[in-house]
């Protein structure tokens, strides 16, 4: 993963609430076995409407997206993060995110910034004028050319992974001894979670209607 310490530039002043991952990338784009090229399908249903924000020349290629509450709800598809990354979005600012989406975004180097609605409204106004916005992971602030300064929080592990571009799997594999110890304790105390006898021969009974 590429290290990110700041994201700076124009922003899509969108503000839509409850944007689900079906909207970010519709299901028919999921039939791929690679991570690349999904930007073409990003926000397909939004873009089908003339005058939409993503085809507005003023915002084309913006690295920041400003959205409303509950961004990324719905399906767990990481394709949503890949699609955003592929269209050049490196940070999303919203009042809240779905838990799964923010995890996926982070793992792909996309910063999810939680700010209160008032700050979102202000940033939408600024971005709507075509002014740049800066998300800084060193100072943990979002700033504008008008001296706006909004502090945000990010857990320290995520922040470190983002700023240092760390590979999470590599970090966990280094804990192999601890994992192996846990596994032997499990084998002793909860042996039934270890074994499976295979899957053939299943039946479904269910409850009868009374």
């Amino acid at each position: 993963m590429q290290p990110v310490s700041a994201v700076s530039g124009q922003a899509y002043p969108w503000g839509a609430k409850n944007v689900d991952t079906d909207v970010i990338i519709p299901a028919h784009w999921l039939k791929t076995i690679s991570r690349a090229g999904l930007g073409r399908g990003a926000f397909e249903t939004v873009r089908a409407v003339p005058g939409n924000i993503f085809d507005d020349e003023r915002y084309a290629g913006s690295p920041i997206l400003i959205a409303g509450d509950n961004f990324g709800c719905g399906s767990s598809r990481e394709h949503a993060a890949w699609a955003l990354g592929d269209m050049g979005v490196k940070a999303v600012i919203a009042p809240s995110f779905s838990d799964i989406f923010s995890g996926n975004a982070f793992k792909n180097g996309i910063v999810t910034v939680v700010l209160p609605q008032e700050a979102i409204d202000r940033l939408i106004a600024v971005a709507g004028e075509g002014q740049p916005i800066t998300v800084d992971l060193e100072t943990m602030t979002v700033t504008t050319p008008y001296q706006d300064r909004f502090a945000f929080a990010l857990d320290s592990f995520r922040r470190r992974c983002l700023t240092e571009g760390l590979d999470e799997i590599g970090l966990t594999l280094a804990r192999d001894t601890q994992i192996a110890q846990f596994e032997s304790a499990m084998a002793e105390h909860r042996p039934w979670t270890e074994k499976r006898s295979g899957y053939a021969g299943g039946v479904v009974e269910g409850r009868r209607a009374s």
Partner: protein, 479 residues
């Protein structure tokens, strides 16, 4: 060690901590991992690129479901039929290749056990109480019905689990969702969960894990509990738990992957200790009374847009929040509905009975009891898609397939089908579907498709009347 009162969630969490960091983040051991074709190819690609192996192939089970067409899979001579869509075929082939290469158990499309991951896991006993279970699919929350801490993960996390059998997680907050009383005539588990989401909103559970409690939940079968827990994610919670009890043990005993003999007894003894302690604290609580729950359905494009079947399309102006007003106007426009229209006057062209929410044997029985002796209305296409091959076989043994087909329903092969527009089963633009699935999002069942989420019995009622109908009227007729 004397310990403080803990919730079910905390007990499962605590028993899976491999390592705790100073900031509260924990490395959590994953007991069970389900894999399907859509969210796994890039994870296997990542492993290959880094030269990594799968740590515990024995704890992983793979089954195709999302892409698979639900038309016949073999010809008259029993030979497998090709999959017409090249991209789907490639994705399905990639799953077969990847599971063979990494030594993972794979239930192929022709196996009698094939089905939707969230139907397959419980019915094979792969899903067990007190386990941590993940899958690259948000409706993994369903498995919480058996008391497993189960949640959806993204593809990078799929790769992380494959490589390490762990995930790095921050503990969630907990929310008790209690449903007291007993359900009225014609009211089902689906109506319960729709009503819960209607109450708390689609983001109501964000950052939380639900624990469903109360007499209504206790009285539900495992099938009904699976329906409830399945839609936890539509209420914003990543997982939804139901404490294991005698119903759970009776359901699991004898399933092919469930423990046996002395290990079974040992397991049950531990499972009994998992229920939340008296006095355990939740971060939030919502209480519903069963008498307030009627057969329910959605009118808009968010699962929180819930109304009783006796109700009408709401007026956007009736919402206090201006952004909700705007969202409601947009929804009604997309749904082709006018405020004030009685829900029962809305005609449907499609009915879908299936998905991981409602495709188990009891769901099919409930739908069949309404369909029996009736006919699908003119101009309606109605699909019944069993959740797995085992459900299909059981339903056929009970003659449910003949009830459906003689009423004019299509009887299909198992898979995700019309729940999401990824396989050939789609709702055409501008047409309306009464669906037993879990998402009524814009375009979910096909571009421009209009979805109303309902219970299986309500879906069957819509099929035979050609409109959104109150199933209680048809049930009374049958008395």
């Amino acid at each position: 060690m004397a310990s403080r009162s803990r919730t079910l969630y905390e007990k499962i969490w605590d028993s899976h901590v491999v390592e705790r960091r100073d900031d509260g983040t924990c490395l959590i051991y994953i007991d069970r991992h389900l894999v399907h074709e859509v969210t796994s190819p890039q994870a296997f690609e990542g492993l290959r690129a880094a030269g990594r192996r799968v740590r515990r192939p024995d704890l992983t089970l793979a089954v195709p479901d999302h892409n698979l067409p639900t038309a016949a899979r073999v010809d008259g001579a029993g030979r497998p039929l090709p999959i017409a869509d090249a991209e789907s075929a490639e994705q399905l082939a990639a799953l077969a290749r990847n599971t063979a290469e990494f030594g993972i158990d794979y239930i192929d499309a022709l196996a009698p056990e094939q089905g939707i991951v969230h139907v397959v896991g419980p019915e094979l006993g792969f899903t067990l109480p007190g386990t941590t279970l993940v899958c690259g699919d948000s409706h993994t929350s369903a498995h919480g019905a058996l008391g497993a801490l189960a949640f959806g993960i993204g593809t990078s996390e799929v790769e992380h689990v494959l490589a390490t059998q762990t995930l790095l997680l921050t503990p969630s907050k907990t929310m008790e969702v209690r449903v007291d009383g007993s359900l009225g005539f014609g009211v089902t588990a689906k109506d319960v969960i729709l009503s819960i989401i209607g109450r708390i909103g689609a983001a109501g559970g964000t950052g939380h894990v639900f624990e469903f409690t109360g007499s209504v939940i206790r009285a539900l079968s495992i099938e009904g509990r699976l329906t409830v827990a399945n839609m936890s994610i539509e209420g914003g919670a990543r997982a939804g738990l139901i404490a294991p009890d005698e119903t759970t043990f009776a359901y699991l005993q004898g399933r092919p992957m469930a423990p046996t003999g002395a290990e079974w007894d040992q397991a049950v003894a531990w499972w009994r200790t998992l229920a939340s302690d008296a006095g355990a604290a939740y971060d939030a609580r919502v209480v519903l009374d069963a008498t307030d729950i009627a057969p329910a359905l959605t009118w808009g494009t968010s699962p929180e847009d819930v109304v009783s079947i006796t109700g009408s399309v709401p007026d956007p102006a009736s919402f206090s929040d201006p952004s909700k007003q705007a969202a409601a106007r947009k929804s009604l426009d997309y749904m082709g509905l006018t405020a004030g229209t009685r829900m029962q006057d809305v005609a449907v062209q499609h009915v879908f009975i299936g998905s991981c929410t409602n495709s188990r044997i009891e769901d099919l029985r409930a739908a069949a009891s309404v369909a029996s002796g009736r006919r699908v209305a003119d101009g309606v296409r109605a699909l019944v898609v069993p959740g797995s091959g085992l459900v299909k076989r059981q339903a056929e043994a009970e003659g449910l397939d003949r009830i459906f087909t003689s009423a004019g329903f299509e009887w299909r092969e198992p898979g995700c089908s019309m729940c999401l527009a990824m396989n050939p089963d789609k709702v055409p633009p501008g047409e309306r579907c009464a669906s037993t699935s879990n998402r009524n999002f814009v375009g979910r069942q096909g571009p421009g498709a209009r979805t109303h989420l309902v219970s299986p019995a309500m879906a069957a009622a819509a099929a035979v009347t050609g409109r959104l109908a109150d199933v209680r009227d048809l049930m009374e007729e049958a008395l």
